[in-house]
Symmetry: C2
Subunit: 336 residues, 2 copies
Amino acid sequence: MSSPKRTTVYDVAREAGVAASTVSRAFSNPRRVNATTRRHVLAVAERLGYHPSPLATALQSGRTATLAMLVPDIANPHFFGTIRGAERRATAADITFILGFTEESADTERDQIERLARSVDGFVLASSRMPDSTTADLAREHNLVLVNREVDGLPSVVVDNASGSAQIVDHLASLGHRSLVYLSGPHQSWLAGERWRALSAGAGRRGMGATRLGPFPPQVAGGGAAADAALVSGATAVVAHNDLLAIGILRRLAERGVQVPEQISVVGYDDIFGADFCVPALTTLAGPQEEAGRSAVEILLTTGSARADPESPRRVVLPSHLVIRDSTGPAPDPGR
Amino acid sequence: MSSPKRTTVYDVAREAGVAASTVSRAFSNPRRVNATTRRHVLAVAERLGYHPSPLATALQSGRTATLAMLVPDIANPHFFGTIRGAERRATAADITFILGFTEESADTERDQIERLARSVDGFVLASSRMPDSTTADLAREHNLVLVNREVDGLPSVVVDNASGSAQIVDHLASLGHRSLVYLSGPHQSWLAGERWRALSAGAGRRGMGATRLGPFPPQVAGGGAAADAALVSGATAVVAHNDLLAIGILRRLAERGVQVPEQISVVGYDDIFGADFCVPALTTLAGPQEEAGRSAVEILLTTGSARADPESPRRVVLPSHLVIRDSTGPAPDPGR
DNA sequence: CAACATTTGGCAATCGCTTGCCATGTTTCG
DNA sequence: CGAAACATGGCAAGCGATTGCCAAATGTTG
C-alpha cells in the first residue's frame, strides 16, 4: 500500500556504478550487455529488491506481456481445461493472464476486446460468439487466436469435429441405430453448425437418417425441452450439442421414466466434469481441452514476438476421441 | 497490430482547442472542468476514437484499475461462483480482472502476488493456502481480501461455517446418528480446520461423537481412500471436506456395494455443479459463492478508493444453508 | 466601480523504463 | 603496426497520461 519509494533503474544504476540504460538492457536485452556486467547488475538489483515496473516497460516498449482470454461463461465446466491450459502456458512464459467472460453475448465480447485492447498483447477467444465479419475486422486491429472456432485467415485451435462426429455416427451405426437426432446449440454457435454438418455427412455415409432439432440453450436447463423434442420425434439415438445439455436430457428422460440406453441412446460432446458420474454415465466425445488452451497461447506468443509470416496464420486441429460409457446401447427392437 | 499512430490527449486537445490537461481532467476529474467544455472534449474524443491509455494512466497515477484473483485450482467447480461473482463486480466497476491459479501451493501463491504486485491495485485470495504470518506480511505491502479464509486484522469474506456445520450435525442427529466422521481436507487448509472445529463442537452439543480422519486430497480421486477409511471406522455418517471428495466417496462406496444412505450417510460442502446429479444426489452445505466473490471485490474497491479507516478491516460472513438430497438417511439399526 | 473570492484552463515536471545514436575501448587482420 | 570491425556503455529523448501551481476569467460584494 504505502510506497516509501520504489526502487527504480536509477537506484540500481547508481548502486552498480553503471548507466540506467545498462540496467534496463541487463533485464530486457541481455545480448547487448557484457555478461559480467550483467551478472553484477542483476546481483545489485536482487539485493535492492528491484523489479522492473511492468507498466513503465509496457508504456515505452509497447509490449505488455499480458494476454486476455475471453470465455462465454465460466459456469460451463467445458472451459476449465482450456482456461487452465492457457493460464499455465501464459504463466510459464511470464505472461500475465487476464480472464473475461462474455455472457454468451457477441456485443459483450466485442466490448471486452475494445476495453482491454491497450492493456494486452493479444486475445484468446474461446468459442467466440461474434460473426465472422466482426471477428475478421477486429483481427485487423488486434492479435487474435480462436479456440473452437474458425474464421478464414485467422489462427485457430479446434478439436477435430469432423472425425469426432464420424466416430459418434459409427458408434451408433454399429449399435444398429438407423437414424439420429442432433439437438442443436445456439445458432450463433459455430460449433453447432460444424457438428451438425459433420454428423449429417457421417450419417449419410452410413446410410442413416439425421435430423436436427433446436436450437436449445446449451445448459442443463435446456435439457427438458430437448428431451421432449427428441421423444416426439421418435428418435432412438440423440446427440446433444454438449454434455451440459446431454445431462439435462438424461435427467428429463429419467423423470419421464424413459430408459437410457434401452429405449434411447444419448451422446454428448466435451466429456466435462460430471459426465462420468451422472446416470447413466455419459458417452461423449472428448478432446484435449487443456492442450487447446496451451496451443492457443503458444500461437499468440510466437505470432507476437517472432512476427511470423502473416501469410500463414496457424491452424491447429486437435484429435478427439469417443468415450463410450453407459448412455448408449443397441437400438431398441423396431418390431416392438 | 500495426499502430499507425494512437490518438493521444494531445490530438484531442488540439482538435478541441483546449490544453491536454483539460482533456485529461475531462476524463478523470470531471468536477475540475466546465460542464460544457467537458461535453465538447468528450465529443471530440469520441469522434477521434480516443481512449485513454490505461498504462500511461496507471504509470502516472499509481492506480491500475486492475485487480487479481488467485484461486488454488480451477478444476474445482466450487470456485466458479466466486470467480464469476468477482469478475462481474470488477467488470461492472470498469476494473480489469486478472485470474491466476496457485496450484494449491503457498509458494506459487506468494510468487504470483509478487509478480503481479505492480500491475494491480489489489488481490482477492480465494481459499488461500498461505500461513497466517506470510499472509499478514504480504498484507502490509499489498491490498488483500480473503475469501473463505480468515487472518487476524485482514478483510475477508467467509461462508458461515459454524452455523452451517451445526446444520449438518443437527440434520444427522435428527436422523438418529450417534456419531459422525469428518473426512478432512489438506491440513494447510484453513477451512478444513474451521469445519472440523465447528463439526466437533456441534456434535458435542448434541451428545454425538465426532472423529476426524485424513487428510485426503480434496478431489474426486481422494474419495477412494476416504471411503475406505470411513468404512473401517464403522461410521454411520461421514462429512466430507468438500463435494469433490464426497462424490469420490459415493463412487467408491457404490463400487464396494455399500448402500447410501441405508448403510452410511454422506454429506459434503459447497453444493458444486454435479452435486445434484450424482447418485445418490448429495446432501451438502450450500453457500452464496457468487455473492462471496462480489463482496470481496466490493471491499477491495472501497478500501482502495475511500481509504477506509484502517482500524476496521471489513469482515463479511455469508449465510449458508443445508441442501438435503438423497445421500443422507436414518442411521442404520444398530441392532443388526 | 474597485477589491476580493472562486472557477477554469494551461504550463511543465513527472511516473519508470526503453532505445536510437554516439563515443569509447578491444579485437582482428592485412 | 595502423585501420577496420566489433562490442559495450552512456546520453537524452521519448511513451501517454496526471497533477501541482499559477494566471486569467468570471462572479460577488460593499
